[in-house]
């Protein structure tokens, strides 16, 4: 709401400077967003951000009331031309309200002999400073009065109304109306219309019709000042995407008692600015008087909710300054009736807010509440997130946060861990045509980050994203999960003198990340790894999925050479895992083990096996022996090439032996190791080396 300071002073004796007034309004909940001097005129333009509950402040009169209550200035009303008693109006126009719940009041006046022209300069300047385009004196007067009173008015060219029988009704079967912006509007049956007989002439409270609009040759003006149901106006305006000055005000609540003053003010201005002569009498259909219900205000509640003690006298003074009536008092409190223009005040809490507002938030003390310590102060999930983030950053990965919107094509290619039938969640009103779905996977986001960073000459790119992904489940309802994805591209960044050798990451680095995350989460269970069922964007031979039992927890791999080619990049690695699922496997508690009392002895073992033989198989086999003296087995080398025959490879393991109750002798270990090696040779048809 934009207005000038001089205009405000026509409604209230302002005792303060524009700056002080602006501050007082801001601190009372009517935030002054800007205050600018109008060059050379010793005037100021003020813009107030009016919150949706304060429809009354969408007019200067409402703001003047606030200023009066806040600073003590006297309210005054600019001149009007009230109607002269007579039946002229009743003979010329008939008004019928068929939907009184949607139109509780309809008032009208008529002016003859209007000469439509440009408005006087002072009016045009004021309107334009306040952001309203000047059109002609008649339309400008309706807008001018709307800015003054908050009551939207509409002017019809009465000579263009065939029947002069005004009917306020729901559209029902009426299908179309051309509004004054020239657009043909499709009507819904619940839209409230102003009709001339059966012909629609305006969308009530939203916009007038083209055919009855005031034009340069208009002589007779019918002025409408009505009250419409806020929700009804909003539904129509929303559906037709019309946001007019009128609908904005009706949606936020207009004073039902304000129609006559606004009309009389408009007639006064029309007489002045357009030479109009008012018709005697007026029309005022008010089938549903909007009555304010008294509100009980309990003193205890005021102190309990605000944390201050307000004396009864002070409270009443504050309420009265806002135009409220205090009807009766009792020990508990008072019955208070708010004024007709404060339709937002319906409950005790609303009155308490008014008290707090006028008393001043600044004057309410700051206290710290006495609280029962219920909060855990420790959040398991948050702590796991923090640990994993810390681990990843130590591994050189930087955190990315991407928006979850993506395209149909990307979701089809990168479907995360939902399986290839993962149905994406669509956005009904996307911002762009390539952002119509919610992501199934975090990987496309990281790919985009990679591309953008390489374009900025990044030498390598190590990144992760811990974010949500979305999917429709079998019941077609949306599910969401927190995933973690990582991308490793290029040799890991190093600070200092240039390294002799820069190593690009390989699949085992990606697997190492996953192992590290499991370790950080304290998950001791070993996941199962499999090359079956990896996504088509991954290299079929250099990728894997992993999980616990039947439950798939993640995937990793080198991206498919086709994708690299498409992106114009060297091979790189991605990891994606179901973080939320994984955290469920994280133990809540850790138990320490005592240190072993006797030393362990280590022996290495190298075998030559088929080139496709999985190294883990021997580790698992040894572990399944559950031999009391075998403590651990680790693979430490894989080798192909001379002297190992073509198609074969050498695998080297280190086995540690330990007894709980004694120090093992060399001879004992040698024998154990020898037997174990021999059995491995037999079981796996492997040739033992060295």
């Amino acid at each position: 709401m934009k207005f000038t300071f001089s205009w405000l002073r026509e409604f209230v004796d302002v005792k303060k400077s524009p700056q002080e007034t602006a501050y007082a309004l801001t601190m009372a909940g009517l935030e002054v967003e800007s205050l600018a001097s109008l060059g050379g005129q010793e005037d100021w333009v003020m813009e107030v951000a009016v919150t949706p509950n304060r429809g009354d402040c969408l007019g200067i009169l409402g703001l003047a009331r606030e200023v009066a209550a806040l600073t003590g200035g006297r309210l005054k009303l600019p001149p009007v031309l009230p109607h002269v008693k007579g039946s002229g109006m009743e003979r010329l126009v008939d008004v019928q309200i068929r939907s009184p719940s949607l139109c509780p009041r309809y008032s009208a006046r008529m002016v003859l002999g209007v000469r439509v022209a440009d408005s006087p300069d002072w009016m045009r300047v004021r309107l334009e400073v306040c952001g309203i385009r000047a059109i002609n004196n008649v339309v400008d007067v309706t807008n001018y009065v709307m800015l003054e009173t908050g009551q939207p008015l509409h002017a019809f060219d009465a000579d263009r109304l065939a029947t002069k029988r005004i009917v306020v009704r729901e559209a029902g079967g009426i299908a179309k109306l051309v509004t004054l912006d020239g657009t043909e509007r499709e009507l819904a049956s619940g839209d409230l219309l102003i009709c001339d007989g059966d012909v629609p002439i305006a969308l009530a409270g939203v916009m007038g019709g083209k055919d009855s609009e005031v034009q340069w040759d208009t002589h007779t003006v019918l002025l409408e000042g009505a009250h419409f149901d806020p929700a009804c106006v909003r539904r129509t305006a929303k559906r037709l995407a019309i946001h007019s000055e009128a609908s904005h005000r009706f949606e936020r609540g207009v004073d039902p008692e304000g129609t006559l003053y606004a009309l009389d003010r408009a007639v006064f201005l029309l007489a002045e600015a357009a030479g109009g002569v008012p018709v005697k009498g007026m029309v005022d259909r008010y089938p549903r008087r909007v009555k304010a219900t008294p509100i009980v205000l309990r003193e205890k509640r005021v102190s309990g909710l605000l944390g201050i003690e307000l004396s009864r006298r002070e409270a009443e003074r504050l309420l009265k300054s806002l135009g409220m009536q205090v009807q009766s008092r009792s020990k508990i409190g008072a019955r208070v009736v708010p004024p007709s223009y404060r339709r937002d005040l319906t409950r005790e809490a609303d009155l308490i807010e008014e008290l707090a507002r006028l008393h001043g938030y600044e004057k309410i003390p700051s206290t710290l509440p006495w609280v029962r310590p219920v909060g855990a102060g420790y959040d398991f999930r948050l702590q796991r997130e923090r640990k994993v983030r810390a681990f990843l950053l130590g591994e050189g990965l930087t955190e990315m946060i991407n928006l979850p919107f993506t395209s149909v094509e990307l979701n089809r290619r990168f479907y995360g861990l939902w399986g290839d039938r993962g149905a994406a969640v669509s956005i009904l009103n996307p911002l762009a045509q390539d952002k119509t779905e919610l992501r199934l996977s975090l990987i496309p986001g990281l790919l985009e980050n990679l591309r953008a960073n390489l374009a900025q000459k990044a030498r390598s790119f190590y990144a992760f994203d811990l974010g949500k992904v979305f999917c429709l489940n079998a019941q077609r309802s949306a599910e969401e999960k927190q995933y973690l994805a990582a991308l490793l591209c290029g040799a890991r960044g190093h600070r200092g003198l240039r390294l002799k050798e820069e190593l690009a990451p390989n699949l085992r680095d990606a697997k190492g990340l996953v192992e590290g995350i499991l370790e950080v989460l304290g998950i001791e269970a070993q996941p199962t790894w499999s090359g079956v069922g990896v996504g088509s964007f991954l290299h079929p031979g250099k990728a894997a999925v992993f999980g616990f039992g039947e439950r798939e927890m993640g995937c990793l791999g080198e991206v498919h050479p086709d994708l690299c080619e498409e992106l114009g990049l060297a091979p790189f690695l991605v990891v994606e895992l179901d973080f939320e699922g994984l955290v469920q496997y994280a133990p809540r508690r850790l138990a320490a083990r005592p240190l072993p009392r006797f030393p362990s002895v280590e022996r290495d073992l190298a075998v030559v096996v088929d080139g496709t033989f999985p190294a883990q198989r021997i580790v698992s086999w040894i572990k399944e022996l559950n031999h009391s003296l075998i403590e651990d087995v680790q693979v430490f080398d894989e080798y192909r090439g001379s002297p190992i025959p073509e198609g074969k490879k050498s695998l080297a393991y280190t086995i540690s032996y330990r007894a709980e109750d004694r120090t093992l002798t060399d001879a004992e270990v040698n024998q154990l190791h020898h037997e174990l090696a021999a059995r491995i040779g037999d079981v796996f048809r492997a040739k033992l080396r060295g």
Binding site: P230, G377, L428, H494
Partner: protein, 347 residues
């Protein structure tokens, strides 16, 4: 006679070793004096030919001399070793101005850093964390927060819809409803998370982050809201930060407040040292940072609480906004472009 030759021997030895014998010369001297055919060994051999009464005295003198020679040789060796060590230490100088060597570390996203800071202040005040879905229903996002279908306050939050009544939450406030539906007071909760609005420019991103918080018990007053949030703001910004509470409107709180802090750039003065209006606070001296209020009785009714028996406050803040103010970032889109040159600045 023998004694005299002992003295001569000693003098001769001393003069030879004093000439600055090298390690090889020390070895040569050892052989020359103490070796199998050495000069001292020779004297020891002649010892047997002495008359018995002279033997003890001379024997002692001989032993002393041998000890003396051995000690001097050892001493000289030690001296040489020490000198060599010093020489090497002197030669082994590295250029300390060369850069240190380390692997590049990753960075935590600045939004996470700020989010963590906010969360930690509340955790230390005894708040706990609650989470809610990003895809919400109309009921939790609007209706139960006292925003019926035709409420104009819905205009303040342009919404992405995924179906007729499912949407991307426009604020973290629905978590309030979800927690209160499940639990009874006392409650001290914060709900951090992503929220979505149909908006995209330098100051609005279609996704951003909020931290919602609320405290409900039998005796919570507006003054408590002021106390808790003032403490929070002074922890996250500066301990002496000026904080201002202004009336405002939210459908789910009554009374409602907007909370400003003193501008971080002009420190509340509103203008630069050249007298220009401060560009961060646009000359007002204040920055809007939090929305808050006493939970509306209507909201309590929706979750089945009796508003005459409980009271509480709720607040919400934008994480991006706080991060932008804290770090002096002017374009919100930088957070989501994920340019390493930007992210690396937050160590």
């Amino acid at each position: 006679m023998v004694r005299e030759s002992l003295e001569t021997l000693k003098d001769e030895f001393l003069s030879r070793i004093a000439e600055g014998a090298s390690e090889e010369e020390v070895e040569r001297l050892r052989i020359e004096y103490l070796g199998r055919k050495g000069k001292l060994t020779f004297l020891f051999r002649g010892f047997k030919e002495l008359p018995p009464e002279e033997r003890p005295e001379l024997g002692e003198a001989l032993n002393r001399l041998r000890q003396f020679v051995e000690d001097r040789l050892e001493f000289r060796l030690g001296e040489l070793k020490q000198r060599e060590k010093e020489r090497i230490l002197k030669a082994e100088r590295v250029d300390i101005t060369l850069p240190g060597s380390r692997w590049e570390r990753g960075r935590i996203h600045p939004l996470t850093l700020v989010m963590d800071e906010i969360i930690d202040v509340f955790l230390t005040m005894g708040f706990e964390i609650a989470r809610g879905p990003d895809i919400e229903d109309d009921y939790h996002n609007f209706e139960a927060l006292n925003m019926p279908p035709d409420h104009p306050a819905r205009d303040m939050q342009d919404t992405f819809f995924v179906s007729q009544d499912r949407l991307l939450r426009t604020h973290t406030s629905p978590v309030q409803i979800r927690v209160m539906e499940q639990r009874r007071p006392p409650l001290q909760i914060i709900a951090p998370g992503a929220v979505f609005r149909h908006d995209d420019d330098a100051t609005h991103s279609p996704m951003f982050h909020q931290v919602e918080g609320f405290m409900v018990d039998s005796h919570i007053a507006f003054s408590d809201l002021k106390g808790v949030l003032t403490h929070f703001l002074r922890q996250v910004f500066r301990p002496e930060t000026g904080v201002r509470f202004r009336p405002s409107f939210f459908p789910f709180t009554e009374p409602s407040a907007e909370i400003d802090i003193q501008c971080l750039l002009c420190e509340g003065g509103g203008s630069t040292s050249e007298g220009q209006p401060c560009r961060v606070c646009k000359g007002t001296g204040w920055l809007e940072i939090l929305g808050a209020g006493m939970i509306d009785p209507e909201v309590f009714r929706f979750v089945g609480y009796n508003p005459d028996q409980v009271s509480g406050f709720a607040f919400g803040m934008g994480v991006e906004r706080i991060a932008m103010l804290k770090y002096g970032i002017e374009d919100i889109r930088l957070f989501f472009q994920n340019d390493l040159r930007f992210l690396r600045q937050f160590s």
